[in-house]
Subunit: 223 residues, 2 copies
């Protein structure tokens, strides 16, 4: 079993980076082969566009159509093609990121926009079938604020609902097996005891990640 850990945080000493390294260690100790993909250190850039293609069209680039063609013809630019290759090898995708502006960083969104391409990550039957069907997906999110800020009655909103565009809109769209997200609250402080406990909780979670039942995501309803 092979895991791809995508880290989307610019700082190598951040708590998100520590979570990603802990995930890599824990999975390796449980017998997984692991690819730790630190997007910043890889020099990955977030802006989708003609740079994603080896041979962009002269006229208007319609991205979904261009991706579909590139998927069929192997026409992605080297950085995107390399990320796709690493994704395709994974039985488990772990996304590690801080919660910024009620979502992941632009770096993570850019990975979605560029790498989860039409024909690569999804096909004509979203939510049901696709090239990534059966790949497990775990979002591991470092939230700066405390849990009550993002609780069911929190001023910011419910964290699970706020993650819906990622969990349902992206990972489930690709027919992946979405796992209950791993959420760390109060991640902004420098409370080493709290952080050590959370790293330990992640380690224990990952030792059984192969046996977990996926969650059922659903469309976000009007409120």
């Amino acid at each position: 079993m092979h895991a791809l850990i995508v880290l989307a945080h610019p700082e190598v000493d951040s708590f998100s980076a520590a979570l990603a390294r802990e995930a890599a260690t824990a999975l390796a100790a449980t017998g997984w082969t692991v690819d730790l993909d630190d997007l910043t250190r890889e020099g990955f850039h977030a802006e989708a566009g003609r740079g994603d293609l080896r041979d962009p069209p002269a006229g208007l680039l319609q991205i979904m159509r261009a991706q579909k063609r590139a998927a069929a013809e192997g026409g992605f630019a080297p950085d995107v093609a390399e990320q796709i290759r690493r994704l395709q090898q994974a039985d488990l995708l772990v996304l590690v990121f801080p919660f910024w502006w009620f979502s992941g960083p632009a770096l993570l969104k850019g990975w979605f926009d560029r790498v989860l391409a039409n024909g690569i990550a999804y096909g004509p039957d979203p939510y049901v079938d696709g090239p990534l069907k059966g790949t497990r997906a775990l979002a591991c999110v470092a939230v700066g604020a405390d849990a009550d800020y993002y609780g069911p009655d929190g001023v910011a909103g419910d964290i699970h609902a706020l993650l819906n565009p990622i969990l349902h809109g992206t990972l489930a769209y690709c027919a992946m097996d979405v796992l209950e997200p791993f959420l760390v609250f109060g991640a902004d402080g420098r409370d080493d005891t709290h952080r050590t406990a959370e790293l330990d909780r992640l380690r224990r979670r990952l030792t059984v990640v192969a046996d977990e039942s996926p969650i059922r995501t659903s469309p976000l309803r009007a409120q």
Copy 2:
């Protein structure tokens, strides 16, 4: 009255770009001064990090703290400082973007992550007060799919709920006056009649945008 139009689409011939140009023309015709900020053409990059600061710390960069210090000391890197300057002049902010992966493109998220900085776009009293209080904010979104896909019972989820991280989590967080978003569905096709009608609808909307009542956003509740 001065408007900043932030366009987050890589293609100059895209429908999003056409919407941004229409917005600029319509506002100018109504007496606004207009700044059309085409992030791709400006060379804006989306990845937040030490490059946002003129003088990043030697050790771990904690972004919210670093932003607060930079806001007090004028310590932002030139590209961020320039975007901030343009934002601060605006009485109306118009965000024009395509709906990709249930959100805006990474380019837009990067503008949030880097430009809507602590001490610049919000302070200690989010949702209630802040440096941008009273600035009007209009999201203008080109959605490829048809409206029923994103309707209250759509398979993708309700578009207003999906925009909550932007409308409530970002714009209202900054105490801006959030306006009802301008949504164009079926924007992926090449139906010129539809597009012309939608550009016309945007033009008419913007002639009265100064008099519109803001909407009331609220935290996203658990579902």
